[in-house]
Amino acid sequence: MKRVWYVVIALTLIFCINVYGGGKKEEVPAAITFSLMAAGTYDKAAEDIKAAFEKETGIQVTIAAFPWATLRQNNTTDLLTGSGQYDVMSGSYYLADVYEHFISLEDYIKKSGFGKGLLSGFMDKCEHFNGNQIGLPYGPDAYGMLYRKDLFDKGELTWPKTWDEFMVLLPKMKGIADANGMATVVFSGGAPEQAPCLFFDKYDGYFITRGGKYQLEKDKSIAVLNANKELLKYMASDFMGLSIDDANARFLDEKALIIICWPSFIVAAADNPQKSKVVGKWALGKSPTPGRPWLSLWQIYISKYSKNPDASWQWAAAYINEENDVRFFKQYGIGPVFESTYKNPEFVSKYSYYFPSQAYNLTRAVNPPLSGEAQDYFASVLGEFGLGKLSEQGVVDKVNAKWATIPVPTAMLENAKLTGQVQK
């Protein structure tokens, strides 16, 4: 009888061990989805490292690439509905309304030491929420000016350091442009959302008052608009109809002395003899002072609804590191974020006309702390100014009246404080 009891007890123990975890469990590999822009660059770079990453970590990665507007919509909807379809997301400051749906990366950053070697101030330029960093930077660009260095040298002009110098030099630049049958300045005025760049790059006033309301600093804004009014006289006569591609084509076709643009959209073409007549003739100017050039800084965020935040972090860290910074720049022309890439001897000698200025502009550039609604309205009003429908004072009054009704997202306020864009 006793023996029977022993057998029963032994069988029960075996059963319990099997049921409560002692048995051999089927291990389910972690799987994550990374949403990003289908640009033929960032997405290709992700595809490029995917296989090696999966092999090394055992984490399955799905890359979901969309055009910009769709990406913004998909990311936002996913977060607002708490679906958790995308674990890792690509975005920027326009996601301010949904920052609370991203996890804090502070612990991961502390443990891994991420951030060492990034361009100066770039960790502060990443988005923060409740004092915690939520984004990791990649693919930066700063609105800037490419100019015809050969013609500047020939005309014995040096690139101006300040906007005052720039305005003084404009008639001389026009002389050179006229002599060469080209426009002095070209800009994509036909892309309405680009209009604010002409304001941001000269404005060093605040965007948010001490009381936490959107507002333009009156005197500084009027001064900037005055300068822009003068600058508009030197623009190609039809600049208000030019798309980004049209404006770029003008410069590449030797029809403009200066282009105000996102450098990353034109640099590769400008160096390609098949696409450009200005190979070896151009340089990127250091953005004159004062002002804060418009920063485009892609960031990687991890969704609060991700079932695999650790795996998501592993992917983010694999995507953004010094090795890939060089590799992605070489292969896809993605703007580097690490200081070491900008000091890479090969690049420094090869891109002397571009790299130092780009690094300088990037350290000065910031994201304006504007919500989508505030920025869209601002861009439309500046469009009216460009068409001559509003005076400088009219722009400031109209913008401030509307902005008074638009709430500042808490996260924007935090970032504005970090980047010095709040009234002191």
């Binding site: 919509q73 936002t76 607002l80 708490g82 309304d97 949904v98 005025g189 036909g190 309405p192 959302e193 039809d238 208000m240 109809g241 030019l242 798309s243 049209d246 084509a249 919500s371 989508g372 609604e373 869209d376 309205y377 439309s380 009003v381 469009g383 009216e384 460009g386 068409l387 429908k389 509307k402 997202p409």
Partner: protein, 299 residues
Amino acid sequence: MLLKKNWQEKRTLFTFLLPAILILLVSQAYPILYSLSISFRQWALAESLKPKGFVGFNNYIKAFKDPIFLNAIRISFVFCIVATSFEIILGFIIAYFTVGENFFLRLSRTILILPMVIAPVANGTIWRMMLNSQSGLINQLLRFIGIQGPNWLGAPGSALFSVIAIDIWQWTPFAMVVFLAGFSIIPNELYDAAKVDGAGRLKTLRYIIIPYIIPIGFIVLLFRLVDTLLVIDAIYTTTFGGPGFSTNVITLFIYWQALRYFNISYASATSWILSIFTLLIALSLMRFQKRVQTKMWGA
């Protein structure tokens, strides 16, 4: 006995209709009523996942004080009246000249209908490229004959004109098709009688075709008025509401509020304003149609 049978029949009918009624209630009536309730509450998705408290007519008052919304109403009405007028007049003229059964008329009708079958977004994108001031086909052609083409999409006046023209190009065929169908219901005897009475082409048009076509014209008018008030695709793909606010129509305004800024309650309120406007227009038009018909054909 008969009454009982009738009631039973009705009950059977209702039982068969019930699933469809339930689907309609869930898929249409509920969202409509929900959006109405949201319009009286405060809800920005970015602030909260659920609607907040009751705010009465605040969202509606805000809309009527919002200069961008008022401007959007103005632009929408200009768009609606100009586009609809041209579409009806041109549609009628084209239908009048392409009615008939020979091969060339049939071929022309097929070709003329093509714009209508292109997806509006594709249509807008094609026109954006064609209207490009630098490389667009229109300005290239103008340059070829020595004319410097305007900046079609870059100046306020020409941008509005361009988006209206795109709508006319795409939807005139719709008016044409309906008018063509209308021509086919006019009895041939009437034409024969008119011929016997010595009526020329113009008199036949004035006394036979137009009176017959007017009820159909009202249908086209109703469809196009409502449709042009709801236009968004062509504007989204060509000007995105710019330059400035010059092509910012109500639907685009609502889209921005709802899906770019997530101001759900404000977007609901402005949607209801648009729906009420559209409904009023449709009702007045139907009333007017009835009056015209009574005047022309008697009660």
